[in-house]
Symmetry: C2
């Protein structure tokens, strides 16, 4: 494909994308295909001869697109949103053209520098504690996902704990090594039973134990100081070593917010335990002053914080914005310096080389799309997006609340998420759980809407949330009407 063929194909692709978003409502939200559908449509070997892009694109349109679930549709009410936007797409376009594995500053100085700048901008806009800004000991860095952020922090936490809380008690290298080897099997990471599974998975990867602390509906599913103290004391009594805690700002199932102030207080007597805040979804709302009370109690005692712009803040996947209070903690755990990566600016200590602050060596230029989005929308435009979609979500909450005879809401609705059950009639042979399951199954089968079901402390419930820039009040009203109708039919 030469430059002129590319120009033609790229223009046509841009037109195709615009048309796709314009006609999104006409398509099913979930891909209507059977497992294994694509293998039947494509050859078993790669083509030998070059093909014209028009032919490739025809197959893309007829074979691939029907197999894509439409995360940006107003009828996509599942999981959490996965935003994209036009300025973000332009950022990716340039990033793919200027492709470079920006592991060192010198690999592409603007990649590193722009990242630090836009992450400082974001931290200020979210009113994060100043300890996370890059002008002190802290720093923001883009990770691929909230999962990678928690793995990265947990590995740093594990090594910091083994060094500062274990090895430091011994004199000789031999004693230190022995003590570390003995301690490894006793390390334990904590999180509430509502915390995203990424923390449990990170513990599997880091090779440490994991304990989920029970929450209760009475506390709105938040991790409290008291529950944490009980869990920590109990583990310590068994000889385990608590070294890491994930506190959630917005859990996956119900957007619960842990009690940061209480947690900080309980942790005062455990200064070596790393405290991470997972704000993957809810963090986006911090750009609006009216939601900054979610930060109450955070202060400057948390070691790390992570939120995904690629969920609800108009940047396409991936753009997970992670902040640490002490960037050295990451480099202490993750820095390896072979001779082929040495260079004069790095050796002089003049620059930050991001490879020392993440799991992989290479990395993409992701700051560009963030910068484009921030400038094309401005803080006001970003806030308008959060408020608009939040309010569309709340519209659904209101409708559900108007039918207490039909629906029960099982956790405090927050940031546009409603978690609901369909109430079985009194004296009915079926249970509310079973009826809700039946309604959810029919909605999945009919495919007009896409929503996620989950089980919260034994209650089977449907989650409804939007966040797409293409969301509308009309579509949400229609979604409510449809769900209400299915619920009534299934209950009858």
């Amino acid at each position: 494909m030469d430059a002129e063929e590319y120009r033609k194909a790229a223009y046509a692709s841009v037109d195709y994308i615009i048309e796709h978003f314009k006609t999104m409502d006409e398509r099913k939200v979930v891909a209507d295909v059977e497992p294994g559908y694509l293998r039947k449509l494509l050859p078993t070997e790669m083509p030998v001869e070059p093909e014209k892009f028009e032919d490739v694109h025809k197959d893309f349109d007829s074979k691939i697109v029907p197999g894509l679930t439409n995360w940006h549709s107003p009828n996509f009410l599942a999981f959490f949103p996965s935003n994209t936007s036009y300025p973000s797409m332009l950022g990716e376009l340039y990033s793919s053209a200027f492709s470079a594995p920006g592991f060192n500053w010198i690999c592409s100085p603007a990649m590193t520098e722009l990242e630090t700048i836009v992450l400082d901008w974001l931290a200020k806009q979210m009113a994060l504690p100043k300890c996370f800004l890059s002008d002190g000991e802290g720093m923001g860095i883009i990770q691929g996902s909230a999962s990678e952020a928690v793995i990265t922090c947990m590995v740093a936490a594990r090594d910091r704990y083994l060094r500062d809380a274990v090895a430091s008690k011994y004199e000789t290298e031999e004693e230190k090594e022995e003590a570390i080897a003995n301690a490894r099997g006793k390390l334990v990471a904590f999180a509430s039973d509502q915390t995203h599974s990424a923390t449990h998975k990170a513990a599997l990867i880091a090779g440490v134990r994991f304990i989920a602390i029970p929450t209760s509906a009475d506390d709105e599913f938040a991790l409290t100081g008291e529950k944490l103290e009980t869990a920590l004391s109990s583990a310590e009594a068994k000889g385990l070593l608590p070294f890491f805690l994930t506190a959630s700002m917005g859990t996956t199932a119900v957007v619960a917010i842990d009690r940061f102030g209480e947690i900080a207080k309980v942790s005062e007597s455990r200064p070596h335990m790393w405290k991470h805040i997972d704000a993957a979804y809810a963090g986006a709302a911090l750009i609006c002053p009216e939601h900054q009370d979610m930060l109450d109690g955070v202060g400057d005692s948390y070691d790390s914080f992570d939120m995904n712009m690629h969920k609800w803040l108009l940047v396409n996947f991936d753009a997970s914005c992670m902040y640490v209070r002490r960037r050295r903690d990451l480099a202490d755990a993750l820095s390896v310096m072979p001779p082929y990566l040495r260079n004069s600016v790095s050796d002089a200590g003049l620059v930050v080389d991001f490879r020392d602050y993440q799991l992989p060596l290479g990395r993409r230029f992701r700051a560009l799309k963030i910068w484009f989005v921030m400038r094309a929308y401005g803080a006001k435009g970003l806030q308008a997006h959060i408020r608009k979609t939040r309010d569309i979500g709340q519209l659904f909450t209101t409708r559900v609340q108007e039918r207490p005879d039909l629906f029960a809401i099982i956790a405090r609705p927050r940031l546009g998420l409603t978690v609901l059950q369909v109430l079985a009639p009194e004296g009915s042979a079926t249970t509310t759980n079973d009826l809700t399951k039946k309604v959810a199954a029919r909605i999945e089968k009919e495919g007009h809407l896409y929503l996620t079901s989950s089980t919260v402390h034994g209650s089977y419930a449907m989650r409804v949330v939007t966040g797409s820039p293409w969301a509308t009040e009309e579509a949400m009203e229609a979604a409510y009407k449809y769900i209400e109708n299915v619920a009534e039919e299934e209950r009858a």
Copy 2:
């Protein structure tokens, strides 16, 4: 930015990219900026009001682009290449528009299915052992980088070893747990001293020991069976537990190829040790039959294999193609199933959910750019690219070999890489190492070319390699002339 503004901005950006590649030679290959340059040019807070894209783009052109190192320039001879191509850019364009975190099959069925198909295509084209194809117990999966691939495999290897080689010897859960806790501190991963630092870093992340096995110039810096046996026996004698080995198909410093057959033989008596092949750069050449002898001795005993299409195979970063012989090994270590990820197709076991085969949960649609590239180039076009750039690299080797009075080549040149020293004249006060360092420093300072220096067993050397689709014979001849000239001047 509405649809029409996007159309205009996107067309203009496509034109800008084309112009950039056309005029690449006119710009310096390495960004000519000082550390911290960008902070002085940008405001300290994000803008409040939306800005016009024309204004954003002006800043992009004048402030960001000058800070980007030009990895695609014919004068970029450093590290390994980081390819991009027009069809690949189109793939990213669509991926950013259809943005979705494809953790489950149902999240976007085509994302999962196309990935399996194109990775099978690639494996067949590379003539990989059949055990890596998806129709048996194996599977290909795209990872973000060769580093993530080795971490993923090492975590799976660690858990498999602890289960199959440690816990299986005991009866009760308590005994098993105790045995695993005791074994953790004794696990050790191996690789040659020439292996990419990613394996050492993976060991840090997985919380295990790492031993680098010395190689020698006599063996062309390859890991041999004999050296491996010595290292394993010595570790075992100390009570350590070898559970993982990285064998390199093309090391970073000199593209050394480990002796896969000998390694497999030595490993026969250690059936629980995971053997991973890191073919990050050299793997690309396997698409040409004349390079498939690099696979000699691999057979079907290796557990995993990884190569980066984003280095030398025309796909922009990231596209690391990882294969495992038994996909279950990954899922056994990495699967966590919270209720909000359950869905009927996954529960029925009909599909592969890629989240169970990688570190993070979410993932981008990267198969699309691979598919576009494979179809737009065809196998013939991909081979032509490898052969052309390899031959341009060999042209440099030939020129260097014509001046044995001035240059020494310190390892067998392979796949277009030359590793050279500038010879100090006999009886000179300066050493060859110091002279080479001086030449490299001057080349870095003048900035006409960009190349990497490294130290191989104490020898300071310059690495010259290309692989860019924009590479030319003329530019390589000029690069040689320039290096020759600097070398002669510095020697005088």
